[in-house]
Symmetry: D2
Subunit: 246 residues, 4 copies
């Protein structure tokens, strides 16, 4: 399939990455994606990857199958008033009323709301939800979260989610060891240690383009879902992991 | 619960480890296990952890709830003619007709047939069966298998099983890099690498007692199953992983 | 100190990275570095980080303390005819006669000739030269080299250098396991395994800017050397590691 | 060479390991070692690996070339009054006056005084003394120390020594992350992270026999030194690392 993708927040740090991936056309999971529309509030940048950057007030360039949004809450709201397609929302910091508007929009269209679109981190979450050893096998859990020195929050949102999933499986008192230093894009490790053996799972992002790539994987998946609804990443892709066990 | 455990092949390399774990009584997964009977063909060792080592021809010492077998096929067959309880069979190398006898025994009792009883390796297999990224996410898979220099087979049985599960999920052409050196008890690593990120899962055994511990976890689990049948480790414990996802 | 740096090959893949580091001024090892001159054969790019890109035939912009060269042999030769300062040469593929010209130039100025300017890889080489266990301690050595799928040579130049240093210390028959996949910038691992323990050293580059940063560390070091000569990275920095042992 | 080794504290946790290594004769670093004398205060064990266990008051079994001591300070002092050979002292907790007696003994014989005889940990210390990146290269250092849940001190003595060596090289404010859990024999990791790359060195002991093996390597080395003196492990083996750099 050929899909036309629109990008909201195209001049932002992540929007630029999404546009760059789409720039020359992107072959992704058996589909072909093209950059069809680029929106931002910026006056400084007039075009991205050969596509004119417009605001929501300007007329759109061409029809779009799916939107990807890496912007700010107000810009996301403007988007929802202007579009009529599935949308991947990676913006964060919504108020209750803004979330209500997103939920309302999701009654007509498929919406993926995902603060973290790293496909690999979803594999780690899946491991934690499906494959953790039962607590009576005698393992203790230890989490490490290493990021560059510019990252302000520690532990990271992903580390907190890891702890939540460990607690859900019955692991108690799990500590996160967070390091903020140098240029580490993002590394999370979960070590499970017993008297006789150890299992560790490590996720390492090479660059932040991983989130752009993930948002586009999400966009393609939304288009295949074929019905409205508000999805988390893990809900959206749950069927992709099924039907494999013996 | 208090369970009396019998060990067949108690003077062998692994049988000794099982007996040592049971020697002073073992608290395991909310149960209390004791060494109740010890069987071997050896004349050299007369007692293990305070329990007389007998042969199957000698009268049994005391009633046993569950048997653990680390012996040879002929000794396993002798055992099946003498006992009337659930049994964990960790012996390998059975002929077709011997397997048929085991299957026949399993019509009356719960039987765990497991060449590898490392609880942690079952977590790795569970990861591979349940949480591998879909192949269209762009990951390639790489397997490493490191063992001590006395191990003759390379790749290991576990490494082959890892490859089988990767292939089942659609990963093709997976290579195993096997190293045999020094005193490494056993290490397996699966690395999944894409353009933007990496997930790796590593299992490391500290000592071979891990297999003894696992066989006893299996014994306790058999006793809770409450019905006859022939189980693999993964089948026996499948319910222990369920009911956790959101 | 404030140093003015010139970049030869400034429109190339690595030249761009060096210019980007210097663009806003760079604080490096107690010095302040500025981009002072930018040279390339390209007509397409007219300025880099606010500095006009010129050819060696155009008049220079301003005096330069040290040059960094990431270009091609012919462009390096043009440079040597035009400059009169220390120079870091990271270009590769020189002929014998070109190397002779570089050596001749080094009679008047300090020259660092370095195919790989990753500071971290020099730490690994230093480890291999200074701290490897004596061979009669019973360790075997194993090397892994993982790079992105676009890298054509396998093993890498660094992996070959690692093997050379292991052989120099008496380790024989060392195998390199090379993987080319996904977007791994560059990872090298040396594992030393005996019957009772293991030491592993891993180097991981986050992005190729590491080579740009290293070339500038080399430039600063050349300026402090204060005498002419042709240096490898390890020779140039050998004194930086000394005088620490007890 | 064939060396006769005596073991003081032969019924203790580590003494047993030394005796087990020597039991059938041990080929080590081109030498052949045999267990020649076994001393302990215990009445319970009468022989170890076929050698009678005696006390210092009983007559010695046969001449010994070198002694290995894993005991308690008082037993070490008894030993020094009874022997007249080089000695490896791995006992800890000496008072000032006891240390003075050891030093006095070392005027007549070569003495290795080493709390930790893991050969691999000495490689890590050598790395820290010889190969750490200069501080102005922009690396920060992070230390991890993982041991079994029975280990009481945290950080470990080795982790403290690692920090001391990092500080000696100018690294400030280094944190140790210590984990005490399960059956981890001993793992130490030093990670050096900058904006663009990372170097990590990991040491992992497989079992405590590593310390027994190391004490015997020390014994052999003492015999080759050929002069009296009190040595640390790193002093004793410093020449084994030299003469390799280019």
């Amino acid at each position: 399939m050929i899909y036309k993708v629109g990008v909201n927040g195209v001049t932002g740090r992540m929007g630029v990455e999404v546009a760059a991936l789409l720039g020359q056309g992107l072959q992704l999971a058996s589909n072909y994606l093209e950059l069809a529309d680029a929106v931002a509030n910026s006056d400084k940048v007039t075009s991205v990857e050969g596509v004119t950057v417009r605001t929501w007030k300007s007329p759109s360039r061409e029809p779009v199958h799916v939107w990807v949004d890496f912007s700010r809450p107000a810009a996301t709201m403007s988007m929802l008033e202007s579009i009529d397609t599935p949308v991947v929302i990676c913006t964060t910091g919504f108020s209750e009323s803004e979330l209500a508007k997103i939920e309302n929009y999701s009654k007509r269209h498929a919406v993926l709301l995902a603060a973290n679109t790293s496909p690999g981190m979803s594999v780690v979450r899946r491991f934690l939800a499906q494959a953790l050893p039962p607590t009576d096998w005698g393992f203790s859990a230890h989490v490490e979260d290493i990021h560059h020195r510019h990252k302000r929050d520690a532990p990271s949102g992903s580390a907190k989610e890891i702890v939540r999933l460990l607690e859900k499986a019955g692991y108690e008192g799990v500590q996160v060891h967070a390091i903020r230093t140098g240029g580490v894009v993002g590394e999370h490790e979960v070590r499970l240690i017993s008297d006789n053996e150890e299992i560790s799972i490590v996720h390492r992002a090479f660059d932040r383009r991983v989130f752009a790539k993930g948002s586009l994987l999400g966009a393609v998946k939304l288009l295949s879902v074929g019905k409205s609804g508000l999805y988390s990443w893990d809900e959206l892709f749950s069927d992709a992991f099924e039907g494999r066990s013996e």
